[in-house]
């Protein structure tokens, strides 16, 4: 089972990803939620790399909502107006008793993370492998979210290797 190789940090990221998805009203866990999970858990090499490039949890959440707002605008709907119209009761949060499944995209991220660990000859599956798994999907929301925050995949990947190297020496 793939989960056996998860480090403590990776497990926390996955749990945090579910919490982020719930808060933002994402009815399945996507690649962008895994990115938010890394930031929320704030542990491990991936969080360190993101933070060193100026990516914060608050900033990423804002971009996630910005992407929702843009998607709605593309079909002529203003999230702002909707929110004003519905009043205080309007919130995207999904109630605690409702289960949120992992999307096929998120599952693929974790599969790719496992392959990345293999490629780097690591026995553990760390947050850096999850981050690489996220970055391999160029069309993913997470990669686009990072681009909106001014961080390219190449930049982040380089930083991950840099920080790994430092931790190893």
């Amino acid at each position: 089972m793939i989960f056996n190789r998860f480090t403590k940090e990776t497990r926390r990221c996955v749990v945090a990803a579910v919490e982020e998805a719930r808060m933002l009203g994402h009815d399945s866990i996507g690649d962008e939620d895994l990115l938010l999970g890394i930031l929320r858990a704030d542990e491990g090499v991936a969080a360190e790399a993101l933070s060193s490039l100026g990516v914060t949890l608050e900033g990423a959440r804002k971009e996630s909502e910005g992407m929702l707002s843009d998607a709605l605008s593309s079909v002529g709907i203003s999230l702002e107006e909707l929110r004003r119209e519905a009043g205080d009761a309007f919130e995207m949060r999904i109630p605690d008793y409702r289960k949120i499944p992992f999307s096929p995209k998120a599952k693929k991220v974790l599969e790719r993370a496992l392959r990345e660990a293999g490629r780097l000859r690591d026995n553990h599956l760390g947050t850096e492998h999850v981050m690489l798994g996220i970055l391999r999907d160029e069309d993913g929301k997470a990669v686009r979210m990072l681009a909106r925050l001014g961080v390219s995949s190449e930049m982040l990947e380089d930083r991950l290797y840099e920080l790994r190297g430092r931790a190893a020496s």
């Binding site: 009203g25 009815d27 593309s74 709907i77 009761a89 309007f90 919130e91």
Partner: protein
């Protein structure tokens, strides 16, 4: 694609953008339904009245929303008047 065909399809140029708009709408619709059901409930509407306007059964509305709304208003009687009324 000629201009006429584009108009008929009526969607964005990029299918991904169109599909992602659907996801955004679905998620927003859920939040909007929850908010409007709660608003109606707080205004003193019965589940039956809410269900009728939504065009679904009373059981369906109750199953989907009652627990959340009860959790949001713990210990309060089921029928309340809006503040200031």
């Amino acid at each position: 694609m000629d201009e006429k065909a584009k108009t008929r399809v009526g969607g964005p140029e990029d299918p991904r953008q169109g599909l992602e708009a659907v996801v955004a709408l679905r998620r927003t619709l859920e939040a909007l339904e929850a908010a409007q059901v709660e608003n109606a409930f707080v205004a003193g509407w019965s589940w039956a009245q809410i269900a009728e306007v939504l065009g679904v059964s009373k059981q369906a509305v109750h199953k989907k929303h009652a627990k959340r709304i009860r959790d949001r208003y713990p210990g309060e009687p089921p029928r309340r008047k809006r503040k200031g009324e």
